[in-house]
């Protein structure tokens, strides 16, 4: 009976007043036992090491990425070696286009000053046409020579 009363007092269900030493010892013993049980029942887990977790994930991701990159480079190089037309055709076309442009686009050229005098009309004096048919860059000069 005293033990049940001590349990109730330890659980806070009964008032803890004017206890005789034996009952108080019982109450203290129950409280100590409750604390022990509560502590044993509480899970003691350390927080997970997220830093290590992410370091692992990153390491695996990096390894996978490098492997993928190596595989891509190898595949690309293999394609170039096995199918030279893949790169020779566009490079050849670009070279041909550049050569065509260089040949067709006019650069700094001397102006064509070739001039054709169709007719002249004068009442006095004379006209001399000074031109060099072999050198179209040389300008024609129409000399009007007044008499007297």
């Amino acid at each position: 009976m005293d033990r049940r009363k001590a349990m109730r007092i330890a659980d806070g269900e009964a008032p803890e007043q004017d206890l005789d030493p034996r009952l108080r010892a019982e109450v203290e013993a129950f409280r100590a036992l409750s604390d022990e049980v509560r502590e044993a029942a509480t899970p003691r887990r350390a927080p997970p090491d997220f830093e290590a977790f992410f370091r692992g994930v990153e390491a695996r991701y990096e390894a996978a990425r490098e492997a993928r990159s190596d595989r891509g480079l190898a595949r690309w190089w293999k394609g170039i070696r096995e199918r030279p037309l893949w790169w020779m055709a566009p490079v050849g076309a670009a070279l041909a286009a550049a050569a065509l442009l260089a040949l067709t686009v006019p650069g700094e050229r001397a102006p064509n000053n070739a001039c054709f005098v169709d007719s002249y009309d004068l009442d006095r004096g004379s006209v001399v046409i000074d031109q060099d048919p072999d050198d179209p860059s040389r300008a024609t000069v129409i000399w009007f020579l007044e008499e007297g």
Partner: protein, 154 residues
């Protein structure tokens, strides 16, 4: 009702087609030329080239290098001309000099230029951008050279 609607639409389409055909068509773009007259006083010596003639130096040297070494700029006139229009300048001796743009030849695309200076008339054809000279008039101890440059403009 449907037939009447169709008739209205056909009439409207025919009216629009008639109006479109009656509208004046856009005329083909007539050629325009920029004609520049450069008046130069030339002497045998002393050697001189006016700064304004530096761009013409190669042409002057090739055309007059054996006759003159002194080139002074007396004036420059430039104008964009439609067919039949003229550009004029007054020479140092008071004479008037005119160049008239008379269009472009169909076969080779040469520019037709007519020159007028007093009683002297001449007709020439030049390449697009080409230069030629009229020379011979005297002004003091100098010879008057008139450079004519004609170039098509868009």
């Amino acid at each position: 009702m449907l037939r009447r609607g169709i008739r209205v639409w056909v009439f409207a389409a025919a009216t629009l087609a008639l109006a479109a055909s009656a509208m004046p068509r856009k005329a083909a773009a007539e050629p325009r030329a920029e004609v520049t007259l450069t008046v130069i006083l030339a002497r045998r010596e002393p050697p001189k080239l006016h700064p304004g003639l530096q761009k013409m130096w190669d042409t002057l040297r090739r055309s007059f290098g054996d006759k003159f070494s002194f080139f002074d700029l007396a004036g420059e006139t430039s104008r964009r001309l439609a067919e039949g229009e003229r550009v004029e300048t007054t020479l140092p001796n008071g004479d008037r000099f005119a160049a008239i743009f008379q269009g472009v030849t169909e076969d080779k695309g040469l520019l037709r230029i007519h020159l007028e200076m007093g009683e002297f008339r001449t007709k020439v054809r030049v390449h697009d951008g080409g230069v030629f000279f009229q020379a011979g008039r005297r002004h003091g101890d100098a010879t008057v050279l008139i450079g004519v440059r004609a170039a098509l403009v868009p």
